[in-house]
Amino acid sequence: MLKLSLFGKIMVYILLAVYCLVILVPFFMMILNSLKSMRDIFMKPFSFPTKVLYDNYTKAWNQAGIGTGYKNSAFVAGVSVIGILIVSSMFAYAISKYEFKGRRFLFVYSMLGLAFPARLAIIPIFILLRNLTLTNSLFGLILIYTSVNIPFSVFLLKNFIDGVPNELSEAARIDGATPMQIYWKVVLPLVKPALSIVAIVSFVNVWNDFFFPLIFINDKSKATITLAVSIFFGEYSNQWPLLFSGLTLAIAPTIILFLLFSRQFITGMTQGAIK
């Protein structure tokens, strides 16, 4: 792309390095301070701990209910992702590969959710879940998250399924395969990359959400990780070392996941919102 002079290159490196520092230093400071005593944090915020207190992590883990938070978030996110993959891929397959009346309408209809944030519907959703006795329940959250993620997943999967040559499914049909078999044995295996993108992106969306648990969950034993940390910050607002270590624990899983699958994340997040 753009060609730079030597001076230009040096400037670009300096600017990018500054930007990276702005991103990374806060994380570093969070971890550094998570290992200190209160006194150390206040007196020597930028230096290494006089004594490394690994114990902060044990305390934060127990008092913030990080373990329960992980477990609840992983359960909710895991089940939601499975639900999202199944219903969205079936729907995307039908509107991509078959011609029928109302197909364009269905596509536009399913896109409305991209344009109107579900938060605007929070009160009726709350009432709905209460009528189903699914407030304060992880299953209620799963239903909402599965529904919320349908538009984006359908959109991404449809794009990919459109790219599967029609000759393949035609050939399978002539060989006597039912639509279900074509979907399961021909199309799905060919769009595995798209499925993994949807899985990763929606997992992170669900894991990171705060608004729905804030409204729907009022029992600590059912708190997701974001809600658990938020309650912890309310109750232990003066225990800075524990706040830092609790935050580190809460943030770690998604960051590690991201570093492992950064390529899929980046394609998924950028394509999902834009294309």
Binding site: L4, L15, I23, G113, I123, L243, I251
Partner: protein
């Protein structure tokens, strides 16, 4: 291909049922609820346009307008910072430099953290007495600049916006970068041969060819700007202090529908009318967005 109706229904119904019951129907029900008064239990009382009167001309008018302006400010500053800085950083990453891949990954890390936790983290860093931001300013001899960033009416909102930018910028960088890398290198090569400099190439070739991406991002930013909640909640709470100087429609909605210390009587109908107000603001833009998405699908 054609398909038998019963097969078609098997594929379509699960997604459409969930989506209609839990997203589309509640969106409509919000609209209906905004004409009722309802404390959350018992029966609803039809009140006509009374909720909207309360919002626009009654006791909530000042708060609503105040919050609305903050959302607008949010949007304008985000457009400037996320798209401006995003373009600049994307251009740098698109030039032939070594290690662009590593930079790309680092750029995106903050996006992986839940917004609300980003808020809590910066809340600690921005603490007026012992927070790292002020300590750092003192350390480098700029102690005079140290101030209670979230405690002053004229800095709190901007500070919250900057925290948002810190978290989200990577997303904009990578989306714009992807659009830039889509441009055929031959085109830029040819411009160099014709004697164009980097400035000209940026504004005459790269910017026009990535314009549709900027347009989409601006649309999304608009929709998201009117749904801000998590960062404000984490940094200044649902009371959106000091003195509502960080209040946005999201926090105003939360107080009217679900309460919070010091808020007036909770009314779900009034809360719903706040969401209808937000809905009305984003609707034209949302329709434009769906239209553009659909158009691109048909031409693809």
């Amino acid at each position: 291909m054609s398909i038998k109706l019963r097969y078609l229904l098997v594929f379509i119904i699960p997604a459409m049922l969930l989506y209609t019951v839990f997203i589309i129907y509640p969106l409509f029900d919000s609209l209906i609820l905004s004409f009722f008064s309802w404390p959350g239990v018992g029966s609803r009382t039809f009140v006509g346009f009374k909720n909207f009167q309360t919002l626009f001309t009654g006791s909530y008018a000042k708060e609503l307008f105040n919050a609305f302006l903050h959302n607008v400010y949010f949007f304008l500053l985000l457009i400037l910072l996320e798209l401006g800085l995003g373009f600049l950083i994307a251009l740098m990453l698109a030039s032939k430099i070594k290690g662009a891949g590593v930079f790309r990954v680092i750029t995106y890390i903050p996006n992986m953290i839940p917004l609300v936790l980003v808020g809590f983290m910066w809340g600690l860093f921005l603490n007026p007495q012992v927070g790292l931001v002020n300590q750092l300013l003192k350390l480098v001899g700029l102690g005079g600049l140290a101030q209670p960033w979230l405690g002053l009416e004229n800095t709190a909102l901007t500070t919250i916006i900057l925290v948002n930018v810190w978290r989200n910028l990577g997303f904009y960088v990578l989306v714009i970068l992807a659009a830039i890398l889509d441009i055929s290198p031959d085109l830029i090569e040819a411009a160099y041969i014709d004697g164009a400099n980097n400035w000209k190439i940026t504004w005459r070739i790269i910017f026009p060819l990535t314009f549709s991406t900027f347009r989409t991002l601006a649309i999304l930013l608009f929709i998201w700007s009117f749904n801000i909640f998590d960062t404000v909640y984490a940094l200044t709470g649902v009371q959106a202090g000091p003195y509502r100087s960080t209040d946005v429609l999201g926090t105003l909605f939360y107080r009217t529908a679900f309460g919070g210390l010091g808020s007036g009587a909770v009314d779900m109908g009034l809360g719903a009318s706040v969401t209808v107000f937000i809905f009305m603001i984003v609707m034209p833009v949302s329709i434009l967005y769906v239209y553009l998405v659909e158009k691109r699908q048909r031409s693809a």
